[in-house]
């Protein structure tokens, strides 16, 4: 066999599958967004009507608002909690650290659908673990229908997502903390900085790349929130009462695969992609990652 062909043979499966399952669909997505379809069988050209429809569609607005609220809440809650736990764990030695790290990470082994199913039951009025725990701690929430009350649906989704994502991002922060130069921290201590100052001015700046990375991945995955609300809000078709739990992707799934309009689904897909792209560009700029890597 010709030796020069070997590397091409090794990457041939990748190339073939990418062309079929990424490049061709990507082009097709651009075409589909301008069609109205009824399942894959029939399609009619509608120009930019899909986008025009979405602009005035209250459900889409709701989905966009909900997703933005979820993303903001995730960033504001997940990052500090994950960082806090990572710092606390970093201060521990040996077995306790390994065990707790494993334990806090463990919800990530559970798929989004299963998490949704489990928490749908945990939020049962009167008997659910969440309702009971809230009542025991704060004297509130025992009879609350968290998944039936439009005002409480988003908080319920956020809390459920936290159960998974805090432990996930903590792993990154923990790894970053272990990579921080100890001599720098010690030098700052000797110069009279207290623990908080050392963290603020030495530790945090030296792990800014990881913080930036976690920020970007948290935003991107939050924008694509899908399986968890679908199962969590199964009693209201995955949308929540008055669409209070509708996200961009559950909306895409609903119009594209329940209603069967793949064209409108593609249009939503493009908008989500543009949002993700825009947000990651802004964040790359802000964190200075782009500049430093150039």
């Amino acid at each position: 066999m010709n030796k020069r062909l070997v590397p091409y043979l090794f990457i041939a499966p990748y190339l073939a599958l990418t062309v079929v399952f990424t490049i061709y669909p990507l082009l097709n997505a651009a075409v589909l967004a301008f069609y109205q379809t009824n399942g894959p069988a029939s399609r009619t050209f509608v120009g930019i009507d899909n986008f025009r429809f979405l602009l005035g569609d209250p459900s889409f607005h709701r989905a966009l608002t909900n997703t933005t609220v979820f993303t903001a809440a995730s960033v504001v809650l997940v990052l500090p909690l994950a960082m806090g736990l990572a710092v606390l764990l970093h201060g521990r030695k040996g077995r306790a650290r390994g065990f707790l790290r494993l334990l806090l990470f463990s919800p990530n082994l559970v798929g989004g659908i299963f998490v949704g199913i489990l928490f749908a039951v945990l939020f049962t009025p009167r008997y659910g673990l969440m309702n009971r725990a809230l009542h025991a701690l704060f004297g509130w929430g025992l009879e609350e229908r968290f998944l039936g009350n439009p005002a409480l649906v988003m908080p319920a989704i956020v809390v459920t997502a936290l159960w998974v994502s805090v432990g996930f991002n903590m792993i990154y922060f923990l790894a970053a903390l272990q990579g921080v130069d100890k001599t720098l921290e010690e030098a700052a201590r000797i110069d009279g900085a207290n623990r908080l100052q050392v963290f603020r001015y030495v530790t945090l700046p030296s792990m800014r790349h990881v913080v930036g990375f976690v920020l970007v991945t948290t935003v991107i995955s939050s924008f694509q929130l899908f399986e968890l609300p679908l199962a969590l809000l199964a009693s209201t078709d995955g949308k929540g009462p008055d669409n209070s739990g509708l996200t961009l992707i559950t909306y895409l799934y609903d119009v594209g695969f329940n209603t069967g309009d793949l064209g409108l689904g593609s249009a939503i897909g493009w908008i989500v992609a543009a949002l993700i792209f825009g947000v990651s560009m802004i964040q790359l700029k802000l964190s200075g990652l782009a500049r430093e890597q150039a």
Binding site: L89, G111, L137, L262
Partner: protein
């Protein structure tokens, strides 16, 4: 005063006492507080799991009576039994006859295992080519891969579905496995790991007359075992927990995988929660087993990697 509030209060008191015993040095109190926060976080993570286990084994009649398990004195086959599992496995009616829950477990296992094996094989092969061969167009391909990584998966939902249906792959597991089987992410991971494999070793293999493929399989792959183990876990989890693909591509009841079935049960069984909770418990056991089986592998692998060279 309920037990949970009493516990929180007692913990707070302990903190105050520690602060007052050594007013000059707050470190013991801070450490105590840190331990408390870690324990609270651990409890918050564990309690849903514990609740799930309890709910799966509790009888229908006592499901809502106790927060977790009934008190030890009340343990009997009337309060704790396998009734939920029995009903879970009694089978669903479908157009083509009864379908049993064990069928869905088997489907999920098959799809996830096959998908994992293929992903590891194809990603590592390509990663090896990018790490250890020089060939025309390599730089261009690497840039292309980086570019495709920027495409969010949601954009491809509709067009891939459109294509799969046109090609007649509905109800075939190929539609679940093939679209995500070689990812730039996987290729880059293997490329990075294989870059640190010494070139002399590969050359030695060539001099000994080994074929290019057996160099990859017998020399290179054993050296990147820790990554392979971790990547296996990621692939298995992704496939085992996948919902979108199975929910749109599979129509026949006997082909369904666990996430789709359990999401359906949530509606079918409604208030009879024990049944789908038992199913959910079973659905999270295999990934957990794999995690614990592989954990040693990538930890020990990292240790051997450290003494190498």
């Amino acid at each position: 005063m309920n037990p949970l509030r009493a516990l929180v209060l007692a913990f707070g008191l302990g903190f105050v006492v520690l602060l007052f015993r050594t007013p000059k040095d707050p470190r013991p109190a801070v450490r105590y507080l840190a331990t408390g926060v870690l324990v609270a976080a651990a409890a918050a993570v564990v309690s849903p799991f514990l609740w799930l286990v309890a709910a799966a084994f509790k009888d229908r009649s006592v499901l809502n009576e106790h927060v977790f398990f009934p008190p030890l004195g009340d343990w009997s086959s009337a309060t704790l039994n396998l009734d939920n599992f029995r009903r879970l496995f009694q089978g669903d009616a479908s157009l083509t006859g009864k379908v049993y829950f064990s069928q869905y477990v088997l489907n999920s296992l098959c799809v996830a295992s096959l998908s994992t094996v293929l992903q590891v094989l194809l990603c590592s092969l390509a990663g090896y080519a990018f790490a250890k061969y020089s060939f025309a167009g390599k730089g261009l391909l690497l840039t292309f891969m980086l570019g495709t990584m920027m495409i969010p998966g949601v954009l491809l939902f509709a067009p891939v579905y459109d294509m799969v249906v046109r090609f007649g792959f509905v109800d075939s597991y190929a539609a679940l496995i093939l679209p995500g089987v070689v990812t730039p992410y996987g290729i880059f991971l293997f490329r990075q790991a294989i870059l640190s494999v010494p070139n002399e070793m590969i050359d030695a293999g060539r001099i000994d007359g080994a074929s290019e493929f057996s160099i990859y399989l017998k020399l290179v792959m054993p050296l990147v075992r820790p990554l392979t183990a971790a990547f296996c876990l990621v692939c298995f989890l992704g496939s085992w927990n996948a919902f979108f693909g199975p929910s749109v591509y599979l129509h026949a009841q006997q082909k369904l995988t666990l996430p789709v079935v359990l999401n359906m049960y949530l509606g079918v069984y409604g208030s009879d929660q024990g049944v789908f909770l038992a199913g959910t418990l079973l659905a999270i056991v295999p990934p957990a087993l794999l995690f614990f089986a592989l954990e040693k592998e990538f930890v020990s692998g990292l240790a051997t990697g450290a003494v190498k060279g």
